[in-house]
Amino acid sequence: MDLATDTRLFAKPQPAARRGAGDRGFKWLTLAMAVTVFVLIVLIGYELANGSNLSLRKFGWHFLFSSDWDPVSSQFGALPFIFGTLVTSAIALVIAVPLSLATAVYLTEIAPPWQRQILTLFIELLAAVPSVILGLWGIFVMVPWCREHLFSWLRRTLGFLPIFQGPIYGVSMLAGGIIIAIMILPIITSVSREILRSVPGLQREAAYALGATRWEATRIAVLSYARKGLFGAVILGLGRALGETMAVTMVIGNRPEIVKSLFAPGYTMASVIANEFTEATTDIYFSALFEIGLVLLGVTVLVNALAQLLLKTFAGPGVTPQN
């Protein structure tokens, strides 16, 4: 920035009143833009509440606990979708949390710098892959592979568990869970990597000074110090998992049933909206879909708010970081 040659900046002194007006105006303008985030969240809540009005009045709390989903007779209940969303998100967390935390540890504590750069770039790229492309890959590559190999292997080895019994179709809640896991791997990894990087070096040095090995230093001094932040990263991943739409819709089979087996097709809150919203014919049908959206919004906002609070208040147990 070459200030000396930019003569426009040396403007003629302006009357104080006019200058004040420009400053005030600009400040209010930027303020107005900044507070749109509040307007947006209120707008989202209002639109969804408004849209689900009819369904709220007709079904009440029963909506959440009923598993009828019959547009023909106008009976609607969200339980199968809530069940599907919870099950797929749980599967995704079980797969993604250990993998991404281990990756974050590898990236911050173990890997040499050149590997760090490449792996970080790859993880950011994975985060950038559009959900619909992952879904396409899911339908044509992952689901057939799961059907032929993974699922039958699971049934042979873990078949004594009720969740791994029953016929194998390919499209299933398990396939949905795996796809969601792939989608939340990068976010949990990159957030926990940031968390681990913010752990002061002094922590590690203290552990090494006591004769710890590298893994012991990581476990005692880094992971336990960063517990709260890592938990925040996981909850943030959960928030994303709950709202994942396209990829899941393409591999979960879209059947509103509550079944024990993970090999059975299911349905999630986000995918029922994606599939049926444009086909809804009656007002009450629209309204029921809006109410599912309202439930989904409530859950994701709560989960995300919790994650943000954990991440923003993250600090070690009684240790002040020193620079």
Binding site: M1, L9, I41, E47, T103, S131, T245, G293, K312
Partner: protein
């Protein structure tokens, strides 16, 4: 301390290092697989017709996604009109003005908004625009993508503006430049590359969004001439063709996926490489 225990600790150390390395490889494995399959299945169908022709009716082989490619760029343009001014100016407020407490809440809300599922944005804009305008429209599709970009751009803009040294602001103010011109002509201009980076990444992210477009832009098998008509978009077309029952449409879905994936990847990689060079030069 006996020797065995020492050996055990050393073994555990090596074991965990190998294990975490293996996990890192497993995490990037899906990326490699997706790229490999999209490239393999899509490359044969990316041809001149794909970029220049409209979709053919069911049963006829051939055709392309020209309207969807153009549609995606039209939607991104509209989205930028909505998202960029709001996001950048909001970011300026967060970095240059504001009380600590209010800013905390704005940041918090922006982060929460970033986590709102994209399908919900679609429903909201359907209620706000599609119902009153009595039909799916390009406007609605652009607005929904633009609104989704607002919190992303706001946060990245704030972050890069905070990197501008306070001395720049002080120097400008000492020269008698009005604070608002300092903010725009000194601070924003210094950080312009970072801001543009943030905008490009946000555009890359929403360019692949499908769920919010399902009931706003809706899709269209023909060219869209007016912004109040529905418009095709690449991700919508990939979705519709992908879940269809026709081999020729599957083939085109892979081709569309390849084009979209390359667009997103090129923006992401080039942005990261460029910014890394800049930081390396400064350090």
């Amino acid at each position: 301390m006996n020797e065995n225990f020492h050996q055990w600790r050393k073994f555990k150390n090596t074991f965990m290092q190998v294990l975490t390395c293996a996990c890192a490889l497993v995490v990037v494995l899906p990326l490699a697989l997706v790229f490999y399959h999209v490239l393999k299945s899509g490359i044969g169908s990316v041809n001149w017709a794909f970029f220049t022709q409209l979709p053919k009716p069911v049963g006829e082989v051939g055709g392309g996604m020209a309207n969807a490619i153009v549609g995606t760029f039209v939607l991104l343009g509209l989205a930028a009109l909505v998202g960029v001014p709001v996001g950048v100016l909001g970011g300026v407020y967060l970095s240059e003005y504001g009380a600590e407490r209010l800013n905390w809440w704005i940041r918090f809300m922006a982060d929460v908004l970033n986590g709102v599922p994209s399908i919900i944005w679609g429903m909201v804009v359907w209620g706000l625009m599609v119902v009153p305008m009595k039909g799916y429209s390009t406007w609605a599709g652009g607005v929904v993508l633009g609104l989704m970009m607002v919190p992303m751009i706001m946060r990245t803009t704030e972050e890069v503006l905070r990197l501008v040294p306070a001395g720049y602001r002080e120097a400008a103010l000492a020269l008698g430049i009005a604070p608002w011109r300092t903010a725009l002509q000194i601070v924003v201009r210094t950080a312009l590359r970072g801001i543009v980076t943030g905008i490009l990444l946000a555009l890359a992210r929403v360019s692949g969004e499908t769920a919010p477009l399902l009931f706003t832009a809706f899709g269209n098998d023909f060219w869209t001439h007016r912004l109040r008509d529905p418009i095709a978009a690449l991700p919508l077309q990939i979705f519709n063709y992908g879940i269809s029952a026709y081999d020729d449409w599957h083939r085109q879905a892979w081709a569309g996926a390849l084009v979209l994936l390359l667009m997103v990847a090129v923006v992401n990689v080039s942005v990261r490489v460029l910014t890394r060079e800049r930081f390396a030069a400064r350090a």
